[in-house]
Amino acid sequence: MLWDLPAPPLFPIVLSLKVAGLATAVALVAGLAVARWQMRRQSFFSKVMDALCTLPMILPPTVLGYYLILLIGRRGVFGKWLHESGIDIIFTWQGAVIASTVVVFPLIYKSARAALESVDPRYEDAARTLGASEAKVFFVITLPLAWRGIMAGSMLAFARGMGEFGATLMVAGNIPGKTQTLALAIYDAFQAGDDPLAISLVLLTSAICLSILVAADSFLSARMGKGPRRKRKKTAPPAPSASPALAGPASPADAAPAAGQGGQA
């Protein structure tokens, strides 16, 4: 029964959250920058760029892992140089972050580009005639208006990062207590025939990913609603929960004020 299952070990959970969180953060910055660059571009070059940025979503994770080893492995293009200066990325948790970043990047890039392009360009035009630089147009107008879609994409990316297996295994290995994430720990437990441990880890991973998906959906449906629903600063209730990953099945109405406050920062 459920209560007979062993408590899941803490290390893989913490490591998975840490790796997925950092990978999402790095991919968010990079994905936003590329999405802004690609925004409303139609040229052939831009289409090739778009395909390249989407590729990690379609390629087998082992292919990505192999590319990464070619790049940052001890004899890799950059890895060789890093190795000489005493930095090894392969078989470290930082390596897992790099692998996850590459895997989740397309999810963030795609949703960020769609969200940015869904902003009515007339708002940006109005801002330009009011003397705003392109940077000000982006940070004060476009980004806040696209924020919810970008947040929803980031949550998907975080959930995907939590489940990353193939590329992480190749780049960071499967070292218990060092680079063993949830997905790898499950594989280990299964291989060792430790079914109770495997089940408890499987259920835990499912619960975390489910909560994230529900939270992401709440963000999106709030975004689809008519017009901005943000409550004004003075009357806005405190945000219901600080951590979206643990927020659980939040209703759209709960998510809306929280998203609005994020959007105006």
Partner: protein
Amino acid sequence: MIKVHVKKKLRGRHGNFVLGADFESSARHLVLFGSSGSGKTLTLSAIAGLVRPDEGHISIDGDVLFDSQEKIFRPARTRHIGYLLQDYALFPHLSALGNVGFALSGPFGRLSGEARRQSLALLERFEVAHLADRLPGEMSGGQRQRVALARALAANPKILLLDEPFSALDPLLRIRMRKEIRSVLDELDIPVVIITHDPDDVEAFADMLVVYSQGRTRQCLDYQPYRLRGVRASDVLVPLVQEVESQALAGA
């Protein structure tokens, strides 16, 4: 004095659209008149710097904004042109104060105390100071128009472009806002270009009239004599538009 001589070709799904706009005017209130899709908004976008024409020349009071031969194209943000877009395009996530203060705010949208005071004074002037904290979605059509006009004026523009300023309003409000805007514009000492397809707007504002048809400016005429004689706008426009349409048919 505003000089516009531009050509711009747009490729569309339903064939190409060619804009050919030619007019010069030193009138205080210049009205561009024509049916929708005749190229009026594209002309304003070119003046504001949001669209780059293929060739031609645009200048305001000798200040060259675009010249294809001299390869001059000043970006919109350096043109100091107030542009009231159709339906106003108020920033939906910013309050009335945030909208009006946008031009005065810092690179990340921060309002200094002084900018805040100036924005509030502008809202006051348009009698919407009590709405300072409201979002555009929480305002009526007339309130939105006032906030949008205050926002355009906050940047201290050299010229004001109004794109169908009254079409989004219901008929009674339209009459009232027309009077209000007219008196505000009379107080301001800047030239105004207004787009419309409503003869009442022509009657209320035009000093000079440019008539568009199928992407081209077909007629430019000094409207002041008609106003002084008290002629109704529709009596001037109906024969004029008929003439212009047949001219377009024959020419195009």
